[in-house]
Amino acid sequence: MQYLLLIHHDDEALAKAPPSLWAEYAAFNAALAKSGVGTPGLRLEHASKGRSITRRTSAVEILDGPYADTKEQFAGYLLLDVPDVDTAVQWAIRCPSAHYGTIEVRPLWAMAPA
């Protein structure tokens, strides 16, 4: 089963993170690679550097920055191949980002075999 771990960071909490955070992240990525369930995830630039686009009203609307003004912003993701949701949750608990926001665990839509 493939699961996407969506990392949402709380900017304020992240700003107070100790310098050891990145060492912890390196260890987390090493463990991820060793177990063979996934590769290191991708980190995004801050949401303020992004654009949000919609054509719901037919006209193209482009907004600077995040679409919704929430406290936690989407900051990166990991793709895991694990047997079940419990294992995916276990990895989310290990992920250092869990201390500075929320990690959403979502199963990938399983395509019906052709």
């Binding site: 060492a23 912890e24 390196a26 260890a27 090493a30 463990a31 608990i93 290990r94």
Partner: protein, 413 residues
């Protein structure tokens, strides 16, 4: 809350729980309807917790609970007059309660039968412990969910499904026949021990209360099946580990490994009780998994408390446990113990043999042990790599910080 108020509340809680579990078990054993029995008693249990902690515990707690449950049930029946099916069900429940109230002096204890039903092979393995925690102790899905890493809503749904399964699969609420007893008892013990390990892993937060609940259930099983050595073995095992809870962290919350724990912080009362239980269990003949694990704990206690040389006994016990379970985790623990006798290289050779086992790749204790042994053997690069993996796999913050400090110390060497 004052100390005495707190004591009153705890007493009320304990007595109410005893009665609650007994009444749920008694009613459900007759109807196979656990959810119905719980509904009938839920309000009564809640008001018991309130009233008893103020007015004291009544002389016959079961009768008190039944009277309140009966009154609530009649009210509910009146409100739901139109729901014919519900009414029939409530009438049945009311009859049950009347019957039970009449014989309240001697309501048979069916909790063991209920536990066997909850741990029945037809019930999903992962739901057995939550089901026992809810039906026997009256814990809510909310109470149970966090420790099992499930959202409260999902836990609630799974509990409902499990109870429906009990009813529809016509699972007998009975103590199994002698021939089936060992296997079925194993499932009950496994469920209780699973609850304990969830509570043990967490030092603070939701963990500690769950560990208490599991020990309480262990005592209940021992009191209801006094001749079963494995039940005593499991209770002893839980008490040995629980006795060290306070010593596992220092005053700043920093992780303290067994070898460095201050034994003055160990709970002597729990250890003494564990020793008595283990002796009683051992007197009954061949030992099962729990007795052997408890014996290993006992050997560690003797080693740390009296300075006794018990490493050979610990290695021998792990060897025996390994032949019983065939578990790579046992092999790992045996290797770590063996290092104390034959040195770290001998232990590392055993760990090398395990490294092809897929289950070890994300098993945190494997990498922590490997790091510890490699550092002792002076293999710093190996130790560093293993520590990194152990840090990445840690779910407990205290353990992670301890390992980060270990790795920093390794660099400084």
């Amino acid at each position: 809350m004052t100390a005495s108020g707190d004591t009153a509340r705890r007493t009320a809680e304990r007595v109410a729980r005893e009665s609650y579990g007994r009444l749920v078990a008694y009613l459900a054993a007759r109807t196979r309807d656990v959810a119905g029995a719980e509904d009938a008693l839920a309000d009564a249990f809640a008001s018991a917790l309130q009233t008893w902690s103020i007015n004291g515990v009544p002389d016959v707690p079961d009768a008190w609970l039944l009277t309140v449950a009966r009154r609530r049930l009649t009210d509910a029946a009146r409100r739901r007059q139109t729901q014919a099916a519900g009414k029939a069900h409530l009438q049945l429940m009311a009859d049950e309660l009347d019957d039970a109230a009449r014989q309240h002096d001697d309501i048979p204890d069916r909790r063991l039968a209920l536990m066997f039903a909850c741990a029945h092979p037809q019930v999903e393995r992962g739901m057995r412990a939550p089901l026992i925690l809810q039906t026997i102790l009256g814990l809510t899905a909310q109470d149970i969910a966090a420790a099992f890493l499930i959202s409260p809503a999902t836990m609630g749904q799974r509990l409902v499904r499990a109870k429906t399964r009990l009813k529809e699969a016509c699972i007998a609420f009975a103590i199994p026949e002698r021939v089936d007893l060992p296997d079925r008892l194993d499932a009950v013990l496994e469920a209780i021990y699973a609850a304990y390990t969830k509570g043990w892993a967490e030092i603070d937060g939701t963990g500690a209360p769950l560990a208490d609940e599991a020990i309480w259930l262990g005592r209940l099983v021992v009191s209801l099946l006094p001749d079963e050595p494995e039940a005593k073995g499991m209770l002893a095992l839980m008490l040995y580990t629980e006795a060290r809870r306070r010593a596992r962290r220092d005053s700043t919350g920093f992780y303290v490994p067994l070898e460095q724990q201050d034994i003055a912080l160990w709970d002597d009362w729990q250890i003494d009780l564990a020793e008595v239980l283990l002796n009683e269990a051992n007197a009954c003949g061949p030992s099962g998994r729990y007795q052997i694990e408890a014996a290993i704990q006992s050997a560690h206690v003797a080693r740390r408390r009296l300075g006794a040389q018990t490493w050979p006994a610990i290695v021998a016990l792990y060897t025996h446990l390994g032949t019983l379970t065939g578990s790579p985790v046992v092999t790992l623990n045996r290797a770590v113990a063996l290092a104390e006798l034959d040195g770290p290289e001998a232990a590392l050779a055993i760990l090398d043999g395990l490294s092809d086992d897929r289950r070890m790749a994300d098993y945190q204790p494997y990498w922590a042990a490997r790091a510890h042994l490699a550092a002792r053997a002076g293999r710093h690069a190996d130790a560093h790599a293993a520590l990194t993996l152990a840090i990445g796999l840690a779910t407990d913050d205290a353990v992670r910080h301890y390992l980060l400090a270990q790795r920093a110390a390794l660099r400084a060497d």
